[in-house]
Assembly symmetry: C2
Homo-oligomer: 149 residues x 2
């Protein structure tokens, strides 16, 4: 007897929106459906262009606002372009990073376990892999205590 965990995507959308006090609008639905169809991890602009064919009345800033809201409630994942500006690291020793979601701090740490990770065959078969990076994300010490998260 398994618990039913998977709702259909739109039911998920409704559920999460209501849970977070967001309204379920036609725009939210069309944006979410278009993103579901996409296999290429699109940008707001790309999604907007695809939707324009069928929904010319939709505006780009609604796509931005909607995707941000979705990411906040955990309905979708931001997989590129987290912070607001480029950041650089001069350390040459093997290490990894923790990123604070609130203040943007990036903390270094080392981990033998992470250093020893292998590249899955499904990827190394076709792609040339030059780098593996493990990134932790959450709230740092200060932000954790300031907010009551």
């Amino acid at each position: 007897m398994t618990v039913k965990r998977e709702l259909d995507p739109i039911a998920q959308l409704r559920h999460l929106c209501r849970q977070h006090g967001l309204r379920v609008t036609p725009q939210k639905i069309m944006i979410y459906q278009e993103l579901q169809k996409a296999l290429d991890h699109p940008s707001p602009e790309q999604l907007f262009q695809r939707l324009q064919r069928t929904h010319p009345e939709l505006s780009l800033d609604t796509v931005y606002r909607t995707l941000s809201a979705f990411a906040e409630i955990g309905l979708v994942d931001l997989v590129e372009g987290y912070g607001t500006a480029r950041r650089f690291d001069p350390r040459r020793e093997k290490h990894h990073h923790f990123h604070c979601r609130k203040c943007g701090a990036i903390l270094d740490f080392t981990s033998d376990q992470y250093d020893q990770l292998a590249i899955p065959a499904s990827i190394s078969r076709d792609c040339q892999v030059l780098n593996l990076r493990v990134t932790l994300e959450g709230y740092c010490k200060q932000c954790r205590s300031q907010t009551n998260i």
Copy 2:
């Protein structure tokens, strides 16, 4: 008898620049030194502001150009703000990503090994970790064959 691997940072800078046909200028040196001093993975703008105190003649776009060049020759690492736009992912199943450096494609893959990674105590002690992400970086099938990399 150990081979000497670690040159002092400025020697590294000179070495890598020459190796890649880049000139060693006072600007490159001051930018690299300031980045070495920083423990916070600064943005170009932040680095520029810090340098202005002592080098008011330095320009922001030189900081941008220089940091990009450093990242290209592998002297420093870009640790935030890789792509040009935000990208979103609707998949709710556990998975990881490969990012192509040339065309920007993001490929999904699964890995039990990656799913089972632990959070190091040095981080979980102070920080609240909400997410762990493994990202592979390199050249995808198409880009690998097009370029001769």
